[in-house]
Amino acid sequence: MSTVAPSIFSIETKDLNLWYGSFQALKNVSVNIRHGQISALIGPSGCGKTTLLRCFNRINESYGYVTTKGEIKILGQNIYTPDTSLIELRKAVGMVFQRPNPLPISIYENVVFGLRIHSSYGTLKKSKLDDAVEKALREVSLWDGLKDRLHTRATTLQLEQQQKLCIARLLPLKPEIILMDEPCSALDTEATLGIEELMLSLAGRYTMLIVTHNMAQARRVSQECAFMLLGEVVEHARTEDLFLTPREPRTADYIEGRYG
């Protein structure tokens, strides 16, 4: 993943189709996600947002019964070529889940988990790990609150902190892309605003793709927005345009709350 992406897009899909068994969850999805921006993915539940997101780091394949057809390019490289290393792909494409899922180990170990598993035993210096923890936690503005209890269990944190920790956990691996699947749906309003602020502060350094069912959130954080319905991308435009002057009647129906 070291070659420079020739295009302005971090993620490009072409005619992507996906089946769970015989059920088609994605239909001819062709969508390009701009580099270094926050893009949002909206749509009623069950329309395939999570499925699409999980294609981008090929985590869908952990189910044995998934078939994928079409092309996905991440940073200009086709990720379905046989020489694609899932390990390298997932280092570059991090993911944050709907329910915060910190590992049941300490805060410190959660942050360095990625570093530890990607380096051979005994080659990591403690000072390097300490630096990585401080840097990552500062980036998600958890450092000041947590620096004195780095060795308590991550699962004892409040949900907002847990979700921020899950983001921090990706950072030491220097990902290019961060995928977030309804990262605020388990949080209250205030915590949601906290996470949104964090997203905005990370924008520019990472390409972010946020799935949300909260249209106000999409408007607040994203520059581009794609609307999905029944496995298809119906419309993809600048967020302002999509919400103010949708081209498709189905998009208009959705954002005016007529279904979903």
Partner: protein, 300 residues
């Protein structure tokens, strides 16, 4: 005012409901106590009958005078050998097989056959295991009647249960933890080693420990494969049996002196029963302690 009062007066119907509520609770309580009662009665009766003979000497001396006197050292040591060896064989195989089935295998015809085999193997009567052990280990593999052959037979018997309990313990680890690991590029093995196994250890250990009492209690599987009625060994010596020796065992010894030997003092078989039972209870208690201890350390 009066009107308000009357609203909360129990009508005859509600009074009848309250009455049946009390009756129901008493019946349930009685039934629940009935579960505990037999255990208390059995333990009480055994200890009462065995009381005259129970002492440390009873554990540490071998049977004497045609097994009519002395203690139970040689069968006790034999049982320890059989249990430890069988679990040393069965645990790694069972745990690794369960890890494969749960963490690596896709849902296909092969895993379905294996799971079916595990379930059916768990239901095979122990006497059938005994015959299999006799054929496979004693005769075919040429191990003869020996501690090794008997332990292998016990291992086959405990294996499916260890696989099943390990499976359950692994399945209890939330999928979200695995996905969190895969998403930072961890391999399956790294995920298993760092997250899945540490968090399912209490369940796995409990399953294994509970098999101790099962292996210690069974008579049939060892009768044809390695256990003998009587064998003289050096007292007070922990390595008195060799791997290819035959040995005595508590369950078998109890059977022998209760049915095959005349004029055995009455307290003797009860003494053996008490030792067997307390082993089982102690092991179960240990399983509970391990479980509680490891549970208290993990929270999610």
């Amino acid at each position: 005012m009066n009107d308000h009062h009357a609203v909360f007066q129990a009508t005859p119907l509600t009074r009848r409901k309250q009455c049946s509520e009390v009756i129901a609770m008493v019946v349930f309580l009685l039934m629940t106590s009935l579960i505990v009662l037999p255990l208390l009665l059995i333990v009480g009766y055994l200890v009462y009958q065995a009381w005259p003979i129970l002492s440390l000497d009873f554990l540490l001396t071998s049977p004497k005078h045609g097994m009519r006197a002395g203690g139970i050292w040689s069968p006790l040591l034999g049982t320890v050998y059989l249990v430890v060896l069988s679990l040393v064989i069965a645990t790694p195989i069972g745990v690794l097989a369960a890890v494969f089935l749960n963490e690596y295998a896709r849902d296909n015809w092969f895993t379905r056959i294996v799971n079916l085999a595990v379930i059916n193997l768990a239901g095979v009567p122990s006497i059938v295991h005994a015959l299999f052990g006799l054929g496979a280990f004693v005769l075919f593999a040429g191990l003869g009647k020996s501690i090794l052959a008997a332990s292998l037979t016990l291992a086959i018997m405990t294996l499916p249960v260890i696989i099943a309990s390990t499976n359950e313990a692994l399945a209890a680890v939330p999928m979200a933890f695995r996905e969190a690991c895969w998403n930072v590029g961890a391999t399956r093995w790294q995920t298993i080693r760092h997250i899945v196994l540490p968090n399912s250890m209490s369940g796995i250990l409990t399953g294994v420990i509970l098999q101790v009492s099962r292996a210690a209690g069974e008579t049939a599987p060892i009768m044809f494969t390695g256990a003998v009625f009587f064998k003289a060994i050096r007292e007070g010596h922990l390595f008195a049996y060799g791997l290819f020796d035959q040995c005595m065992a508590l369950s078998m010894h109890l059977f022998t002196i209760s049915t095959q030997v005349p004029d055995v003092p009455k307290a003797l078989p009860y003494g053996i029963a008490v030792v067997l039972l307390s082993t089982v209870l102690a092991v179960n208690a240990l399983a509970i302690i391990v479980r509680v201890y490891l549970r208290s350390r993990k929270k999610w």
